[in-house]
């Protein structure tokens, strides 16, 4: 469904991605793990068109997105949704307006239909009746759930999650993990997650890839990664200090 071929990206002379190759199948939960600062967010931002790669290709359903115009990206983004690391909710709006934002701008739905869709999405993430709450009134976990509701509102083909459990307590982290699995099953979207939360990766992931020094050094099912003989993967999975 999504293919990343030999992707390179640098910033001010510092090479962050050094030829990343990935293949994400339809309907799976693909997780990229790796230490902080290895370029996981850069990889995600290249995949959703927020950054342009220096070299390499990104293909979605066989369509080459590398060098795609803004109009082409607008077309593709109707099928993409992103849940950002710090939720990125619009704090000048309430919860309902946040979830309705994309529906108002990317669909021709009537006001009543939008209200219904917002209600349904909030109910799916366990936030029934939260439409009128201000963003500042929400806890970190609630904000993540609103961000997920905003993402699923448009029935996307792919949901990209950037560190979805960062900053959450272990219970809320487990709740978000379960929610990601639930969304994947109920909506049938493909999920792409970048994280260093191993519990999330091994619980939710159907395929896990490890990014290290700008390259994917290991890809496989969770068990394969757990039993990997690669010393860098072992060190990360077992949490061995430097």
């Amino acid at each position: 469904m999504i293919e990343v071929r030999d992707l390179w990206k640098s910033f001010k002379g510092k090479q962050v991605l050094k030829g990343v190759d990935l293949f994400i199948k339809e309907g799976e939960i693909f997780v990229v793990i790796g230490r902080s600062g290895v370029g996981k967010s850069v990889l995600l931002k290249n995949m959703v068109g927020l950054m342009k790669p220096d070299k390499g290709k990104i293909l979605y359903k066989g369509r080459d997105l590398t060098g795609a115009s803004e109009a082409e990206w607008k077309d593709v983004r109707r099928e993409f949704a992103v849940v950002f690391q710090h939720s990125a909710l619009f704090d000048s709006m309430n919860v309902g307006e946040n979830v309705a934002f994309g529906l108002k701008r990317m669909t021709n739905l009537e006001e009543g239909e939008i209200r219904e869709r917002v209600k349904r999405c909030l109910s799916m993430v366990g936030l029934e009746g939260a439409e009128n709450l201000r963003i500042s009134e929400l806890s970190g976990g609630m904000q993540k759930r609103v961000a997920i509701a905003r993402a699923i509102a448009l029935n996307p083909g792919v949901i990209f999650y950037d560190e979805p459990t960062t900053g959450l307590d272990p219970i809320m982290s487990a709740n978000i993990t379960n929610l990601i699995i639930k969304m994947n099953r109920e909506i049938g979207s493909t999920s792409f997650i970048i994280t260093h939360d191993l519990r999330l990766a091994f619980t939710a992931g159907t395929t896990i890839a490890m990014l290290h020094d700008g390259k994917i050094i290991n890809v496989g099912e969770p068990d394969t990664i757990k039993k990997s003989s690669n010393p860098i993967v072992r060190k990360f999975v077992e949490g061995i200090p430097d």
Binding site: K45, G49, L50, K74, R77, V82, F84, A88, L89, R105
Partner: protein, 251 residues
């Protein structure tokens, strides 16, 4: 340093151009434009009132002292009226709005940038230029002249109060010279300047917000820089207008 400044100036011009194109493409939402007009215009009335009233009062006080030494104290109204309308009110209003509104624009957009809300807008197929910049730009270029016109009135009232009630200038003579020497062009010149100052405040404020990097520190730096650049650019633009608008040199 100079190359960075030129690069930044170029980027501000590009953003302004994109905004103008978006205006002509009919982008932007009326509700948001009106909301920004209230923020820039209505909410700035108290600070503009205070600034322009005291500017008029101080100018009248010092003009009277200077002129009375030459026995021309009765001419205070004419000089104060022209100076306020052409220079002081537009520039002071511009600088005050740069501090109040320009800073708020940069802080708001800058916070959105560092908290990935701008990225979220892109992923929701929303162009930040038409969604964020355009309403602020239109609100600033239309509300600055309105505030300036209001400031002209308040400034002249302040000047009249000091000249007539404090310095004891004859009110009939004061008004006679004011209306004799203050031309509509003087007021119009000030309004043209205010229109351009509005564009400067919005363009610099939005550009600085959209180019903010880092966290809270980055937002703070961007906000400071926005106010400094806007204020200096307003003063430079005022001088340029003084040169290129031939009627500003009249009288």
């Amino acid at each position: 340093m100079i190359s960075e400044f030129i690069e930044e100036l170029g980027a501000i011009f590009i953003l302004t151009w994109k905004t103008i194109v978006a205006v002509f493409n009919g982008e932007g939402e009326w509700r948001e434009i009106l909301r920004q007009m209230v923020r820039v215009g209505v909410e700035s009335v108290p600070v503009v009132t205070l600034t322009t009233a005291f500017a008029g009062m101080v100018l009248a006080l010092n003009s009277y002292i200077g002129f009375s030494r030459m026995g021309a104290g009765d001419y205070t109204g004419s000089v104060v009226g022209v100076a306020l309308a052409k220079e002081l009110i537009p520039v002071l209003t511009g600088i005050v709005i740069a501090g109040r509104v320009g800073a708020a624009i940069t802080a708001e957009i800058g916070t959105m940038k560092v908290s990935e809300q701008i990225d979220a807008l892109y992923t929701l197929n929303t162009d930040p230029v038409s969604y964020l910049v355009l309403p602020r730009f239109i609100a600033s270029i239309f509300m600055l002249p309105v505030l300036t016109l209001y400031g002209d009135g308040i400034g002249n009232l302040g000047a009249y109060f000091v000249a007539v009630y404090v310095m004891k200038v004859n009110p009939i003579i004061y008004n006679q010279y004011l209306y004799m020497y203050l031309e509509p062009w003087d007021i119009f010149t000030g309004l043209i300047k205010a229109f351009s100052f509005g564009a400067i405040i919005a363009a610099v404020g939005c550009y600085k917000g959209l180019s903010t990097e880092g966290g809270a520190e980055g937002v703070g730096k961007a906000t400071t820089s926005s106010v400094v650049i806007s204020s200096i650019t307003i003063l430079i633009a005022d001088f340029i207008w003084g040169k290129i608008l031939p009627w500003t040199l009249r009288g």
